[in-house]
């Protein structure tokens, strides 16, 4: 790294930007509405999974609770931007400034991300003192708590009912822009002093402490930055689909995003992005099969649930055969004959 040119140093980011840009350009040129929607969904997942990677990839601590911040970000934005007619009646528990006002989309998105970030910092403060499996289980408890609170706080969240009529401003290009920012931020973090210290602690916590790394502190920093982008992912999700319920942000979402991270390779930023691209593609193919298609006059249709089963099997195969994920924990390095990443 020391003697690398600036372009060489930021190459891992440029390469990922280029990859996503090519996908979006192809969808724009050749795709119809459906492909457009699939790509937008995937880009929102890129924001979430790269956000997740900022914590999980650098610290090595699995988080089963980060998707909570997606819910927190999504609902915070909905409260500010959605349903001026329904809010005063249905969401009577909201404070008056939210209940009777509707705010602009962009400032609402920003304040929602800030809200998720602050909550993450508070929640993370005790949890980040834990290590290994204890920390993971504690994050899982966070997921359960947020789900139960939001699922029962009827006068604020409509409970488990859907909130509909959310303004839909997130198209493919907005999602691409946010994904690009998230990727750049994740890379900046992992190259920062905090990111490098945390990656050292991931490899050997004892040795890291012995050279002065305050492990809980660095974990909390990563956790909080991670939650900011997952919160952003939640905002994008809500304003992409236009309808949310708290159960959108629970076990299914946790499973699929972690699967993407593991399959791509959770130790590298490239892994997080490749995992989303690979799994989103697989998911879409399987969805087509589930809907049924016709080959030579023969109608083929798979039973429902095949998606989850196949994804589960793929994840198992990756864990057994290629534990480092598709990228093996490497970044896209500057093209040189020696160290070309396989992906």
């Amino acid at each position: 790294m020391a003697g690398a040119s600036p372009l060489e140093r930021i190459w891992p980011v440029i390469a990922l930007w280029a990859l996503l840009l090519v996908i979006v350009a192809l969808a724009e040129l050749f795709g119809g509405g459906i492909l457009n929607r699939v790509v937008t969904d995937a880009l929102v997942k890129v924001v979430v999974v790269v956000g997740l990677y900022i914590f999980v990839g650098n610290s090595g601590v699995m988080s089963f609770g980060s998707i909570s911040f997606m819910a927190i970000g999504a609902y915070a934005s909905v409260w500010q931007t959605c349903c001026p007619k329904l809010k005063p009646i249905n969401m009577s528990g909201l404070p008056d400034f939210l209940r009777y006002n509707t705010f602009d989309l962009f400032p609402s998105a920003v304040s929602s991300v800030v809200f998720a970030t602050i909550l993450a910092a508070i929640i993370g403060f005790p949890i980040m003192r834990l290590s290994g499996i204890a920390a993971s289980i504690a994050t899982f408890a966070v997921l359960a708590i947020v789900n139960v609170v939001y699922g029962n706080w009827d006068r604020v969240t409509l409970g488990t009912n859907s909130v509909v009529g959310i303004p839909r401003y997130v198209d493919m290009w907005v999602a691409l822009g946010c994904a690009a920012i998230t990727i750049a931020a994740a890379y900046a973090y992992q190259c920062s002093r905090s990111g490098r210290s945390l990656r050292a602690a991931r490899q050997d916590e004892v040795a890291a402490k012995a050279v002065g790394v305050n492990v809980p502190r660095e974990r909390l920093i990563a956790w909080t930055i991670s939650a900011a982008f997952i919160g952003l992912g939640g905002v994008l999700y809500a304003h992409n689909i236009g309808v949310i319920t708290i159960n959108n942000f629970y076990l299914d979402m946790t499973f699929i995003t972690l699967a993407m991270l593991v399959i791509g390779g959770m130790k590298s930023l490239a892994g997080a992005v490749i995992g989303v691209v690979a799994l989103a593609t697989l998911q879409e193919l399987l969805r087509q099969v589930e809907l049924g298609f016709v080959v030579g006059g023969l109608s083929i249709k798979s039973p429902p649930g095949v998606q989850e089963v196949v994804i589960g099997i793929v994840m198992l195969l990756i864990l057994v055969l290629r534990p480092g994920g598709l990228t093996g924990g490497r970044e896209f390095s500057w093209p040189s004959p020696k160290r070309r990443p396989r992906s």
Binding site: A200, D204, A210, V211, N214, G329
Partner: protein, 253 residues
């Protein structure tokens, strides 16, 4: 840099354990040991396997809180500090089994150590380059540490500790597993550390011959107690040391 300033102006310079005991469920690993390490000296800590040497290093670096007694970094009572705080105060250790960051290159191992104690990224790079150069490891700088030979691994362990700006560096059996030639080379390096980096060195060894040549002072422990302390010549001829240390070692084989 700090190093130069440290040499010219040593100031208060003692890392000390005062009457420290460590007990694990009835087993007394360290029994009222006192130890002082000054900057600029090489103190040998010797004793047979299981004598309590590593436990004492754990105590001096915050990895083990003593059951009794206190640890002092200069004039601060640092008993109960977290390990990272000891490190930032300049108390840096190595590990018997290396514990290098395997996914990092040699250079990255050193840089992250310097970053860990608070240096900026740029200063960390300079510091790492200096230490690598001094130890003759520059050619290995961009290799991943899981690809190193055993001897290089040991040296990188020491290099990483030196990159972390130590005021006192605690080397836990740095020569373990090396052959005689490698061992002698390493000891010449260890002997030169105080002069070059302005820090004190605590050298843990169970090989008497090795410590005799490099240490200014030697403290001998056995069964968790100090049985002798003094300059090498005195230790070598101390009948208690010969009886307890060498004698016990023969029996234990």
């Amino acid at each position: 840099m700090t190093r130069g300033a440290a040499r010219e102006n040593p100031g208060p310079s003692t890392l000390a354990a005062r009457a420290v005991s460590v007990r694990f469920e009835g087993l007394t690993a360290v029994d009222r040991i006192s130890l002082e390490l000054q900057r600029g000296e090489v103190l040998g800590l010797i004793g047979p396997n299981g004598a309590g040497k590593t436990t004492l290093v754990n105590v001096l670096t915050g990895f083990q809180v003593p059951s009794e007694g206190t640890i002092w970094v200069v004039d601060a009572d640092s008993t109960g500090w977290q390990p990272h705080r000891f490190a930032r105060a300049g108390v840096i250790r190595t590990f018997q089994n290396g514990r290098l960051f395997k996914e990092f290159t040699v250079r990255e191992n050193l840089e992250v150590a310097a970053i860990g104690v608070g240096l900026s990224a740029r200063k960390a790079r300079t510091r790492a380059a200096e230490v690598l150069d001094w130890l003759g490891l520059t050619a290995r700088a961009d290799e991943r540490t899981d690809a190193l030979s055993y001897g290089d691994e040991r040296r990188v362990g020491i290099a990483r500790a030196l990159a972390a700006m130590p005021r006192w560096v605690l080397l836990d059996e740095p020569a373990a597993g090396l052959n005689d030639v490698e061992c002698d080379q390493l000891m010449r390096t260890v002997a030169a550390i105080p002069e070059r980096f302005g820090c004190g060195v605590l050298l843990i060894e169970h090989n008497m011959r090795v410590v005799m040549t490099v240490c200014h002072r030697i403290q001998v422990i056995d069964f968790g107690k100090t049985i002798a302390a003094g300059p090498p010549a005195a230790i070598q001829s101390d009948p208690q040391v010969i009886r307890a240390y060498l004698g016990v070692r023969e029996q234990r084989r």
